[in-house]
């Protein structure tokens, strides 16, 4: 019997049962099975329950809309959601479980006032290759920390952006450094990833408004599996956009 029609193999990749003839052939034919497996890689990557069509609804807390309104500047208010309050009343509690050292993030509003201007430079440069540096910022140590560094926003030819970070800081043993972009009023933040002393490049999410998250922050995170900011920051700078 000839190989199964290509359309049938695609349906098999979707885990649909085939007509008997095709199913029998497929069971015995390595060529067709290889084809099904190669088509199935995409299916298995996304056909998971978490990504399925929406099921039961859940009402998000009011802070979710507050964050959307703050990030977009939209002042219209959905029915049933409390109106946004002044930003000072909106600051989400930071889960600062660890107070071993450093400055608590909640103090950031004060701290950034001091940091901004100190060592923050901005340069816009024409493209060497197809990568353009947008702005560069010094990461200044907070209080008596020994960490410092610099961060540069680069834009590549394809429009993707990255943050190139140089960090001078002592190595950690049972903790790690993490890089964040944070709103000026420290309501919302975007984790960019684990940071090691030395040079590293972090992809910036497409669509992320850097102007909304101008604070480049380095935190110390315990190995506790908690994805939120530890509340312990050791260095910070402000992007000048």
């Amino acid at each position: 019997m000839p190989h199964c029609p290509p359309e049938q193999l695609a349906l098999a990749a979707l885990h649909e049962p085939l007509p008997d003839d095709d199913a029998r052939h497929l069971a015995d034919c390595a060529v067709c099975r290889t084809e099904v497996d190669s088509l199935r890689r995409a299916v298995d990557a996304v056909a998971v329950p978490e990504l399925a069509e929406p099921g039961p609804t859940a009402t998000p807390p009011a802070s979710v809309w507050a964050g959307i309104a703050a990030a977009t500047g939209v002042t219209a208010v959905p029915e049933g959601v409390p109106a946004a309050q002044p930003a000072t009343a909106q600051v989400l509690p930071l889960r600062s479980r660890s107070r071993r050292r450093g400055v608590l993030l909640v103090a950031a509003a004060v701290v950034t006032g001091a940091v901004a201007g100190a060592g923050v430079t901005a340069l816009v440069r024409g493209g060497d290759d197809d990568t353009r540096q947008l702005t560069t910022v010094a990461l200044d140590p907070l209080t008596d920390e020994r960490a410092s560094g610099r961060a540069e926003v680069v834009v590549r030819g394809d429009g993707s952006r990255a943050l190139e970070v140089q960090l001078d800081a002592p190595a950690l043993d049972d903790e790690y450094y993490e890089l964040w972009l944070i709103e000026p009023d420290v309501v919302d933040m975007v984790p960019l990833g684990v940071l090691r002393p030395g040079s590293q490049t972090f992809e910036l999410p497409a669509g992320l408004e850097l102007a909304e998250y101008p604070l480049v922050d380095v935190s110390v995170e315990p190995l506790d599996g908690d994805p939120t900011h530890s509340g312990v920051s050791i260095a910070r700078g402000q992007l000048d956009s």
Binding site: L14, E53, V194
Partner: protein, 227 residues
């Protein structure tokens, strides 16, 4: 404006990936009369059009109507708490800042929001995976002799998932709607044909071509396929 806000909410609309509107869109015959404009509660299609046009009230309406579904997905993936809330928040922020890419004639706004939510869920998985690997690597580097080992790579399924979701965004209709019904609604090709009104053979050949296209993307030679 205050009248708009006190109007009774429209019945909760369901998110459907069906694209019957877009199938008929070429004829323009199904466009409802524009009577809802300025009325108490614009219909979903009108909210979609105003959203695309940048009307801020449309973002509030979209949140009012579909945040529950989006957040339901986020909670299903991560349980209630900061991760789910972040996914929901980032979904609406990304939808608003990326509204230029939303085509109201091609897909309903709630389906588009759900698509963005899938990306945000996959992003969160990828971030967790990266953090876990990098933390483990940092830990083992600190404990063992550093030998210039390559940095941790993202789990291959995590990476596949992001590539596939990205490629789905590049598909036109009806291909995207068809494959989403197969992937996310778990419909068979004959159920998809029934749901969409497209001929069985058309559905099958679109499925085949889309899976080939996704395979090319995953195998690395299809990054710039035209939509």
């Amino acid at each position: 404006m205050s009248e708009l806000l006190v109007a009774p909410p429209s019945p909760p609309s369901s998110v459907r990936v069906v694209f019957e509107d877009s199938v008929a869109a070429g004829s323009g015959a199904r466009e409802p009369a524009d009577t809802a404009f300025g009325d108490l509660a614009p219909d979903d299609a009108e909210v979609g059009r105003r959203f695309a046009a940048g009307d801020e009230q449309a973002l509030a309406w979209a949140y009012q109507r579909w945040a529950g579904q989006v957040h339901g997905m986020a909670v299903r993936a991560f349980g209630p708490g900061p991760d789910a809330e972040d996914v929901t928040q980032q979904t609406f922020i990304a939808a608003w800042t990326g509204r230029a890419r939303f085509r109201p004639g091609e897909s309903p706004l709630p389906a588009w929001l759900v698509g963005i939510c899938r990306h945000k869920i996959a992003d969160t998985w990828a971030r967790r995976d990266r953090q876990r690997r990098e933390a483990e690597a940092a830990l083992s580097q600190a404990q063992a002799t550093p030998t210039g080992t390559p940095g941790p790579s993202v789990d291959s399924v995590v990476a596949d998932r992001m590539l596939v979701l990205d490629e789905l965004d590049r598909l036109g209709q009806p291909q995207r709607g068809i494959i989403e019904l197969a992937f996310f609604a778990d419909l068979t090709h004959s159920q998809i044909a029934e749901r969409t009104g497209l001929p069985l053979g058309t559905v099958k050949s679109h499925i085949r071509r889309t899976l080939e296209r996704l395979r090319s993307r995953l195998e690395g030679d299809g990054a710039a396929l035209p939509a």
